[in-house]
Amino acid sequence: MRHNGALALAFHATFVTFILAPIVVVCAVAFTPEGYLSLPTKGFSLRWFKAILNYPEFLRAFRDSLWLAALSSTIAIGLAVPAALAIARYRFPGREAMTALFLSPLMIPHVVLGIAFLRFFSQIGLSGSFLGLILSHIIVVLPFALRLVLAASYGIDQRIEHAAISLGANSFVTFRRVTLPLIMPGVVSGWVLAFINSFDEVTMTVFIASPSTTTLPVRLFLYIQDNIDPLVTSISASLILMTAVLMIVLDRLFGLDRLFLGSAKS
């Protein structure tokens, strides 16, 4: 009785259909040869993929999104690694409160964060700037980075570091030669998760982006709000395909379940 029965498999098939349906539809419609939204019943065409190239604002937004995600997740991981070591290693007053603060962006609705940053940046003169986007994205992705680095830091045997110290290594050398290599899987997966979350963020960013500095999801969102045409499906399909490739790579590297199950328990 350890295998799934027929009823269970039927349920599973329905569930998977539900999950895949909108994704498959977007990808299918993207290949339409027609000038309007339709399923490509009369042959496939790459016309709408080629059309993306005629919209430099989408290409620019894509490039900016990549930069934003790369910079903010790198800075976030740079802040998260020492913070995670402090939390995992030391008992000090305010430790719990500090951890809660670092994880709080997971609990604060992104609309609220967007509003707060809009107000804040307009007060300090950072409205609509790329720097503002980076700062705000550091905040929203840091919890993801922190959780994975924390899990890795809790996992290492401190006596391995003691061994390095007893052999003459100072704090910095111990960190670089022993601790960092040991938490590296957590650091890399934390960075990747931070990158993806920054790249996909739309709710908060829509408040603080400006027409000149914006991200791909925000531009896509604003476009869709006005009209839905095959162009947005081809852009979305490209995003989906890129994510799918990334996903398979991640699964091979870390195991997707570990990446998520590790981060699902806070």
Partner: protein
Amino acid sequence: MSYLALERLTKAYGGVLAVEALDLTVARGEFISLLGPSGCGKTTTLQMIAGFVEPTSGRAMLEGTDLFGVRPNKRGLGVVFQSYALFPHVTVAENVAFGLEMRGVPRAEREQRVKQTLDLVGLSGLADRYPRRMSGGQQQRVALARALVIQPAILLLDEPLSNLDAKLREEMQTELRTIQRSVGTTTILVTHDQGEAMALSDRIVIMNKGRVEQIARPDEAYARPASAFVANFLGKTNVVSAKVVSEGSRHIVDIAGFRLPVPDRSPTGPVTVTVRPERITFVDDPALGIRGCVHSRVFQGTHWLFHIETELGALIVLRQNDGAAVPLEGENVRLAWGENDLLIEALGAS
């Protein structure tokens, strides 16, 4: 002159004293074991020497300099952890070379010393392996090599053999002793295995609840345990209640009617008496000893182990297997011992 001196070394966790006023001097080249039950403070003591636990009070003097004034990474002590604590992300050779690198030893000399040390612990062929892909005994040797290669002032070993199976443990004990003898490194070993402590050490420190019960040579501690706790910890033993009376100028111990003279410094009144099972003999003389009945006997190869019911309770008796006939189960016997075989303590002394 002592090489290492621990002076009233104390560690308190909150209100709990993990180690209490420990005094110990170690001579250069000596092999010392810290022995005691789980939680008695052995690891804490070792960690204070190594520098990973901050002592609450007390000093540790190494050749006249205060160790606690030196950072843990500058103490130059070799530590072998129970879990081995090998660096999992680098090879065996790189593990062993780490300490030399920290000391700025040039590559050529480093490689040569790593090779030498791996030869010493019998791992010549495995220099390029990763620790994960080695057996427990091999990992243990790597840990030892890594600690030895820096020619440490003291080698600190925290239950290095406890993760190994019985047979391998015995092999490694012999090897450890041989290596320590040949290198001559002053060594402090933590263990809760009295056999290991007695087999390896020049002296053993028996600890209980953070306090030292006795520091002595193994044979001395076994033969003349300072307390019933030590006697019990160092091997199977019998503890019975009795009383000591003074008759004229002499003190007599009366164990269930079997009376023997004892030294005058023995406490009088109700006492507990400890007597080792191998010191109890079967006697025929009905005027001597106490009565008992063989409850069970177990053959152990070199010995017979008896459980004898007596009015003092069940006593265990070990008898060398010299080929002679031994009592059967259910047989009535008489048990006796000499006055030098007894350890007498006033009731409630420990």
